[in-house]
């Protein structure tokens, strides 16, 4: 009887760490571009903000709810997918006056650290943001918006956040008076596990 109890305790002792590591382990997600929104707004002539978006975003992230510092983020935004509902303006945005898309076809966001922030499921991300070949380290918060399974059995998780940049810091300096220097980027990202 004592032997059986010892064996049971040993099995439990072995099983607990395994269970813990499964629930708390970091999971890899690939960004689902179709369900990701990368929207920006910029002030025009000091009158009203104009909104635009990037239609293609790719990349991946690692999310660990139990251990946020094990999380990471690696996003690539296709500059040529910029869309403001005005073709001439989109062409101009791709030119060297703004993004110089032929030389710098992607905007990248690579996390350097992720930590828990105030609020439920809120993470503080310190990331290297590269626009037009210039890299700056920025800090912003992202909040988990939900998670679940899609009809095909894929696990999904979503985040959203806001990031404000000074475009002059990145050499996007055309029309410094006509267009706002601060650009707010609002994003919602959906990732598919695996």
């Amino acid at each position: 009887m004592r032997t059986i109890r010892k064996l049971a305790l040993a099995a439990l002792a072995l099983a607990i760490p395994a269970l813990v590591s499964t629930s708390a382990s970091a999971a890899n997600y690939s960004i689902d571009s179709s369900h990701t929104s990368m929207v920006f707004k910029i002030q025009h002539l000091g009158v009203a903000p104009v909104y635009g978006r990037f239609n293609k975003t790719s990349g991946s992230f690692v999310y660990d709810a139990a251990k946020p510092e094990a999380s990471s983020l690696n996003v690539e935004i296709d500059v040529n997918s910029v869309f403001t509902a005005e073709k001439k303006r989109d062409d101009h945005l791709k030119s060297p006056d703004f993004f110089s898309a032929k030389q710098f076809p992607t905007i990248t966001i690579k996390s350097k650290s992720v930590t828990a922030a105030k609020g439920k499921d809120v993470l503080k991300v310190v990331a290297d943001v590269t626009i037009r070949g210039v890299t700056k380290t920025l800090t912003f918060d992202i909040a988990k918006t939900g998670e679940g399974q899609d009809p095909w059995g894929n696990s999904r998780v979503g985040f959203e956040g806001t990031l404000t940049i000074n475009r002059m810091d990145f050499g996007v300096s055309f029309m410094p008076d006509g267009l706002g220097k601060q650009v707010t980027i609002m994003f919602a990202v959906e990732g598919i596990k695996g």
Binding site: N55, K56, S81, S95, P96, K102, Q103, R132, G171, S173
Partner: protein
Amino acid sequence: MDPVQAGLIGVVAPSVAATALILLLRRPWGSANAAPWATGLALAVAYGVAFALILGWPSLPPIDMTHATPWLVIPAVGIAFLPLRVAKGRALATAALGLLNAAMLLGPLAGRSFDATELVLHALLIAASFAALQTGIERATAELDPRAGVLAALTLVSGAAAAILLSDIASLAQVTGGLAAGLGALFALGLWRPELARVTHAAPVIATVVGGTLWGAVLYANGRYEVAVLLAITPLVLWALRSTLARPRRLLARLAVPALIALVPVGAAAGLAASAYFADSSEQVAPATDGSAPADDGYDPNYGY
């Protein structure tokens, strides 16, 4: 930026800088023939002042292709210092500068937009444009009335600025306007002392700014090849017609005819650039895809829901 401020930084400041340098280095109250190389330096400074005021100090190394031209203007000034009698040396140095400019323009596109054959063809095209601009300006202006030469060069540079603007790069068009402002200052000085307006020595500087910026517009924005080629051969047209252009006895005709002749290819280039610009704006934005890959407009053809 309001129009007054734009005029101050894009026109007045480069003109004042060019005028001050010419007066300082050529000392025209004695003889206006001293230090002819100073024209190249004055035009380079006019361009540099406009660049710094409009786009800021250019980065070094020039990772951003728009920042390459101001640095390439420095060796161009070096070539402008060479006496005209060493024509082969000037031509070879300009050809080398043309190839260097081609390398800087094409480097970021290697393996991405162009394969090896396309890269070589583009490099040759850019270097040939440099040679055409430099040789044409140098030889045509050597035989024209200096004021007629600078007016023709001003027509070319203004046309290039307009073409660049219509290629969706307003900032570089403004900066190129700084070079035009410098040429305008030389013309004004030429009304006092005609020899001050001679831009023969400055040909490498003009070729570097016009060639580099035009090809930048073709490769990185919506510039057109035929526009760049038409503008590059404009000085050769003047050179080919030099004996006819130098003939008129009346001053007004002597000054105006070369500029009007230059206006033919320059006007054609500007017309082509304008038609491309306005044709683009009437294009419909419609999803277009073969179904195998995401469309350029961002629509995903495989989207389920």
